[in-house]
């Protein structure tokens, strides 16, 4: 099993969700995040004083999937999140050793979906 984590642009969340739904991936967890990357942020001003905004608003997705779903998931995320502009974000895939459904106590493959 893998945990697929992605940082994407906030306004791409809905398209990503739709693309994942199309691919039968319905279970997602989402967190608010800020990111700093190649897209280096901008210098703003408030009352004339400099304000370096180098943490841009992002959204973090976490999706636990069985190994064979990893590629579909990545593909779905890319399909929804890619705009081609800098700052589209990253996907990180991490090994996961256990998965438990709290409600039933089911484990691993039974619990993941």
């Amino acid at each position: 099993m893998k945990l697929v984590v992605a940082y994407i642009k906030p306004e791409r969340l809905n398209p990503v969700k739709q693309e994942l739904f199309k691919r039968n991936i319905f279970k997602i967890s989402v967190t608010n995040a800020l990111g700093c990357g190649r897209q280096k942020g901008f210098v703003s001003a408030y009352r004339g004083a400099i304000q370096e905004v180098n943490l841009l608003k992002k959204v973090r997705l976490a999706i636990a999937v069985t190994d064979k779903f990893v590629d579909t998931t990545i593909e779905g995320i890319i399909a929804g999140a890619r705009t081609g502009a800098i700052g589209d974000g990253k996907i990180f895939v991490m090994p996961m050793s256990q998965c438990v459904r709290i409600r039933t106590g089911e484990r691993d493959n039974e619990a993941i979906g």
Partner: protein, 436 residues
Amino acid sequence: MKFRYFTRIVLLLTCALPLCASDTTAHDVAANTFMINNLWIIIGAMLVFLMHLGFSMLESGLCRIKNCTNILFKNTLTPAIGFLAFALCGFSLMFPTESHWVVNEVLTFSGFGVHVPGGDPMAYNGTCTFLTFFLFQGMFAATTATIVSGAVAERVKLSSYLIFTLFYVALVYPILGSWGWGGGWLASLNFHDFAGSTFVHSIGGWGALAGVIMLGPRIGKYVKGEPKALPGHNMPIAVIGTFCLWLGWFGFNGASALNADPATISYVLVTTMLAASAGVIGSMFSSLVFIKKPDLSMILNGCLAGLVAITAGTDCIGLMSSIVVGLIAGVIVVPAVLVFDRLHLDDPVGALSVHLVNGIWGTLAVGIFTKEYSFGTQLLGVVTIGAASFASALFLFWAIKKVFGLRVSEEEEMRGLDISEHGMEAYPGFQFFSNQ
């Protein structure tokens, strides 16, 4: 120079007292009446000013976080631009000096700038000084533009909105207003709009409709034709706004009597309060019926709907009838919101349902619930003022669109006008989901 003043006044008074001739006294009595009337109209002007705070909060509360600063900016500028535009041009287009018309009962103009008539201040209109009248009318004028502001929010370009405001308050509102309140042809026909269901709210409402049509809906509002919810971000400030409007309306209606006659103003305030209360109740039930739940934003609209509706006849509609007028206003505001939504007329704050629909309803209600005024004339006023203001607003928006563009770019709209127009956030530090 506070304290020094007194002594002079005391001297004046003590000089005045011993004369005691009944002529002098009669004059002094009239001067006192004048002072009281004048004071009430001053208070009214301040209460109408409070309505600008009301609109600011209601509109920003019912829009999304990312456009909040922009709405606040527009609403802070609106009374400033509106008052100056009206002062320097509009007033002279609205109120004929010594009954002088350029085109009889249709167009008047006595020059740019503020011209205070000389002579006895009591001579101007018998209940308040020229400047009091001017202040009160100036405060009124700016509200018309504010009504538009809410309907076009979240997508209109700041500069374009400000230009629209300038022209609408400097030209359209005063010229149309002169037909009634300036003593023009509608007034001659005995058209009755006591405090502006038509002259303020409908004119504002038609402007809003023109804006909504010319701008189109916000991105994401209609997905495959279905209206989607874009919820307002801050309910407490929307409530603050509504209460400020409600309170301000007592001055809006009450001081439109242009005197402090106890019978008149208490009557006006009671009908205003009854209609607002009934509007709240009506919209609560209407909300339960039409959308199956007690929606807070709907009862805020319902309250204002009741207030807009009673405005035309607040002085002459019966007490029980004013409850009925308000109740109906509250009931219809909810389906009105739904209908505009189905028509893809995207109005984030419900300005069309509140000001346009109920401005019309309130004006017609005068013809229905009173004997003195005919339904026909009321309808004539609604139609002519409606046609003229809608056409002017459409033209204005069209011209601004041609010259400057009306709407921000798609990217700016997605990012929010706060960042794209002002480079600042409304709530720095707070975390919010920004995927809407």
